[in-house]
């Protein structure tokens, strides 16, 4: 800084606002806001987009007051492990407080994106009535609402562009909610209703699509039969993103050729998903657009080889592939040779529990793709066996990995060839992939791997650990290393009080820490809560032992969720959750 020269006074606020409008990333805007008080004031008063990674980190009314000009908000609620039933269903993440505050303070709100929040029909109703220019509603992995709430949105949001319900759980109370879109609604650009379990009236949908000439994304649910898909596609040949409904029907050559030409007519198709209950006869109908596809999501499609490989091998421009392990190693080898532009691969287990007839998907598939796809940077892979050698090869082949999530289905599985822990393999990954942002480890692992991760994973932001480690040192390595760690989630590891207390200040640099079925005691939580007033230390004990206040210090904690917050302890905790 040059003496007392006041930068901010050089120009009027409006000029700075205009300058800041070129800062698109939140991080950049945050940085600008820290330069000086004036920039802080100007930046926050002109900020249009706000991202709240933890809905409890700030009080809604405070957020709304601080950023009065927000047009687009993203709010996330429950911890990630809620996806796997580890978080009690009444834990929290309710959207009411936010929606009420926003209705008051952001009447010009246009975009609202919730993830893992509990959104009630009342919330949806309030949203529908409060924001005159509401354009985008995205409810990802949410629950608590029904199709009645959707009807309210459909009926009242005159300029609705996007309605996205990805992977939400929606009660079916209003059977024909789609009919609530008025005839005057022509603004829809994206509609994702793939998660809906009930019937969707295809005729009404067809009429809606017909009048929304800008529709680009249409993801149907399983109830829409193949015959109706033809009609929809004929009315929306400009589609870029299609999620089919049910992808099978009785053998009917006429239907096949109609489908084939309808799909071929969608020359802009880039994303393809759906394929509910796929029948093999109709798969070739999509062949014509395969070459143009950049994203293919078959993760609910129970198609097996060779048809599966036949389909994917045609998609030479694929950037993103989600598929089930039915693809097997041989299929992944084919992917490695056909899809040279592949950037993201996710392989899901078709039979995660019993493996009665196990699929032939092993570490070989992963190695093949790592070798053949030079742009691969994001991997999610479920399999049943792994070796250190394979991981080392992957690390060597793909130092550009930014996301590596490996789930070996059986906990504590060692290298099946050497019977050793997979420490060396995962260590190689973190040492080689210097830009790794997200990592999930599995298999047999000792504290050694955490030593490597703590030391080498300098850009790691999210780490998931399950059934791993030997003792406190493991956690200590992570918390004392991993400079950029934001989210840490741990289950069933022998990590106890010491590393938490020793690294208490680290926890304030992170968004959140989840630990369940570890070795943490109540006493440590109490200590931590006392020492760190800007952390909420939530203890979740579902086994009904009686009020936590009365329990002794050595009482074991079942589940622990610690997050930084400026809002203080929350007021909506259910019975099983105590904020210490």
């Amino acid at each position: 800084m040059v003496g007392r020269f006041r930068w901010a006074a050089m120009f009027p606020d409006e000029v700075w606002e205009h300058v800041f409008s070129f800062l698109t990333s939140d991080a950049d805007r945050n940085a600008a806001a820290l330069v000086c008080r004036n920039w802080n004031r100007i930046e926050r008063r002109s900020r249009k987009r706000v991202f709240v990674g933890n809905c409890y980190s700030v009080a809604p009314t405070v957020a709304v007051r601080l950023f009065p000009e927000v047009r687009a908000a993203v709010i996330k609620g429950k911890p990630h492990f809620a996806d796997f039933n580890l978080v009690p269903s009444d834990w929290g993440g309710g959207a009411e407080a936010w929606v009420e505050a926003m209705a008051e303070g952001w009447p010009n709100l246009e975009e609202l994106r919730f993830k893992r929040m509990v959104v009630s029909d009342d919330c949806l109703d309030l949203i529908a009535r409060s924001f005159k220019n509401f354009k985008v509603l995205s409810l990802v992995s949410c629950d608590g609402f029904s199709t009645s709430g959707l009807a309210a949105i459909a009926a009242n949001c005159r300029n609705l562009r996007e309605l996205n319900l990805r992977e939400s759980e929606v009660e079916e109370t209003c059977l024909n909610w789609i009919s609530h879109f008025p005839e005057s609604c022509t603004s829809l650009v994206a509609l994702d209703i793939a998660c809906l379990e009930g019937e969707v009236n295809a005729s009404i949908l067809e009429r809606l699509i017909s009048r929304c000439s800008n529709i680009m994304t249409l993801r149907l649910n399983h109830s829409v039969p193949l015959e109706r898909l033809v009609g929809l596609l004929q009315r929306a040949p400009q589609l870029m993103d299609l999620g089919t409904g049910k992808f099978s029907a009785r053998h009917n050559p006429q239907l096949f050729s109609r489908l084939e030409s309808a799909i071929a007519g969608c020359k802009n198709l880039r994303n393809l998903s759906g394929f509910w209950e796929p029948g093999l006869t109709y798969l070739p109908a999509v062949y014509s657009i395969c070459e143009g596809l950049t994203s293919l999501n078959l993760n609910y499609a129970t198609i097996q080889n060779p048809e599966l490989v036949k389909l994917i091998s045609r998609c030479k421009n694929l950037r993103r592939l989600l598929v089930m392990d039915l693809i097997e190693d041989s299929g992944l080898v084919a992917v490695a040779s056909s899809c040279k532009l592949l950037q993201e691969l996710r392989v899901f287990p078709s039979d995660p529990y019993d493996a009665a007839e196990p699929v032939s998907l092993t570490e070989q598939g992963l190695v093949a793709v790592s070798a053949g796809c030079p742009m691969l940077h994001s991997v999610l892979y479920f399999c049943r066996q792994m070796t250190n050698a394979a991981l080392l090869t992957v690390a060597k082949n793909r130092p550009n990995l930014t996301c590596f999530r490996l789930c070996i289905i059986e906990p504590r599985t060692p290298d099946y060839v050497t019977q050793e822990p997979l420490d060396t393999g995962f260590s190689a990954i973190v040492e080689s992939c210097k830009d790794l942002r997200r990592l999930s480890v599995s298999g047999l692992l000792t504290d050694l791997v955490f030593k490597s991760i703590g030391a080498s994973a300098n850009y790691l932001e999210m780490l998931s650990i399950a059934f791993a480690g030997d003792g406190d040192m493991g956690l200590h390595y992570i918390l004392s290393g991993c400079k950029n760690l934001r989210k840490l989630e741990i289950r069933d590891c022998p990590f106890g009080d010491k590393p938490l207390l020793q690294n208490a200040s680290k926890l304030e640099t992170m968004r959140s820490l989840w630990m369940s079925s570890c070795s943490v005691t109540l006493g440590a939580c109490r200590q931590l809560a006392r020492a760190m007033p800007r952390l909420n230390v939530e203890v979740i004990n579902e086994s009904g032992r009686g009020p936590l206040v009365a329990q002794p210090d050595n009482c074991p904690v079942e589940k622990l969720y610690i997050y930084r917050t400026i809002a203080g302890p929350r007021t909506d905790t259910p019975q099983c959750v105590w904020t210490i």
């Binding site: 992977e167 529990y353 007839e357 906990p411 060692p414 050694l448 059934f467």
Partner: protein
């Protein structure tokens, strides 16, 4: 054999002497178990593992595999699976409580569909796990490398479901339950999912519910659960079970009882998309073919009975 030396070789300096003792125990047992493993592996058909003789050779060189080292910290050296395919919890062997917890995580897989962790046990459970596992490795003929995937408990026990593992979304579980992978041999296509959620709708009720069919063993349990869910749901009374038509081995007379006596009928949509009366087929067949349920007004259900019987005959 001098395990502590191996430790220095690997360079773990955190070990204290009590742990080294544990290692010695672990090492001895592990070595013994590894040899057992070797014997077994040679016999497995279709094994993809490298010739175990090589491993025997390497064992004799004194190169102990790393798990031994980490085994030092385990309070459970005896809870190491004989097959060596997987190892039990690494629990810092600091206290009984901790050790117990660790063992509990690896109790023998039991028939447990609702995803509860096996109750916290003690070290004894761990030993049981070993005994059972050792016994089963002899029976294990599953695909090599599927670590413990096919090592089932004794006879009917399916895998115990650890809550939230593997980490797949509920949504996927439910979708897969109603949309299972079609196996190549359709005849013995198995539904691998441990839960089978189907929707239940009731005419006039404001919303749908979901039930997990695998939680019930027979029609009686099932109907009781439904009754609870839809209290106020009357199906009339016909026999001592209280649920007409919901017993195995239905006869025509029971159907007529149902239709004449009650207000509602419980129906389901089967794999072929047809709506049938619940209770016509044996329970297992019902859970296999049921896609969703509907409690419809009795008057609507009248046309169903004859078709249901015919279909049964066709299937047989």
């Amino acid at each position: 054999m001098s395990p502590p030396l191996e430790h220095d070789y690997i360079g773990l300096s955190e070990l204290h002497s009590p742990a080294a003792v544990a290692v010695a125990v672990g090492a001895a047992e592990d070595g013994a178990l590894n040899l057992k493993e070797t014997e077994l592996r040679l016999g497995l058909p279709g094994s993809e593992l490298p010739d175990r003789n090589d491993l025997v050779g390497s064992l004799s060189l004194g190169l102990l595999p790393k798990p031994l080292v980490s085994g030092a910290k385990r309070g459970f050296s005896d809870a190491i699976d004989g097959a060596g395919k997987w190892r039990l919890a690494a629990v810092g062997g600091r206290s009984e409580v901790d050790a117990g917890k660790g063992g509990a995580l690896f109790s023998p897989k039991g028939e447990n569909c609702d995803g509860q962790l096996p109750a916290l046990g003690n070290a004894g459970k761990g030993k049981d796990a070993v005994a059972k596992a050792t016994e089963h490795e002899r029976k294990a003929a599953g695909q090599v490398g599927i670590a413990n995937g096919n090592e089932r408990g004794v006879a009917p026990a399916a895998k115990a479901q650890v809550v939230g593992w593997p980490p797949i979304r509920n949504y996927r579980k439910n979708s897969m339950a109603t949309n299972p992978p079609k196996n190549k041999e359709d005849a013995d296509g198995k539904q691998g999912s441990a839960c089978l959620y189907v929707k239940v709708s009731m005419d006039g009720a404001p919303y749908l519910r979901k039930v997990d069919l695998k939680m019930y063993k027979n029609y009686k349990e099932f109907s009781l659960a439904l009754e609870e869910m839809f209290s106020g749901f009357t199906i009339g009374q016909c026999d001592s079970h209280g649920i007409p038509g919901l017993c195995d081995g239905l006869a025509d007379s029971k159907l007529t009882d149902l239709l004449s006596g009650s207000e509602y009928a419980l129906t389901y949509e089967d794999k072929d998309g047809d709506w049938m009366l619940v209770g016509d087929v044996p329970w297992e067949m019902f859970t296999d073919s049921c896609r969703r349920l509907r409690i419809m007004k009795g008057s609507d259900a009248i046309g169903l009975a004859p078709r249901a019987m015919e279909k049964c005959k066709n299937h047989n």
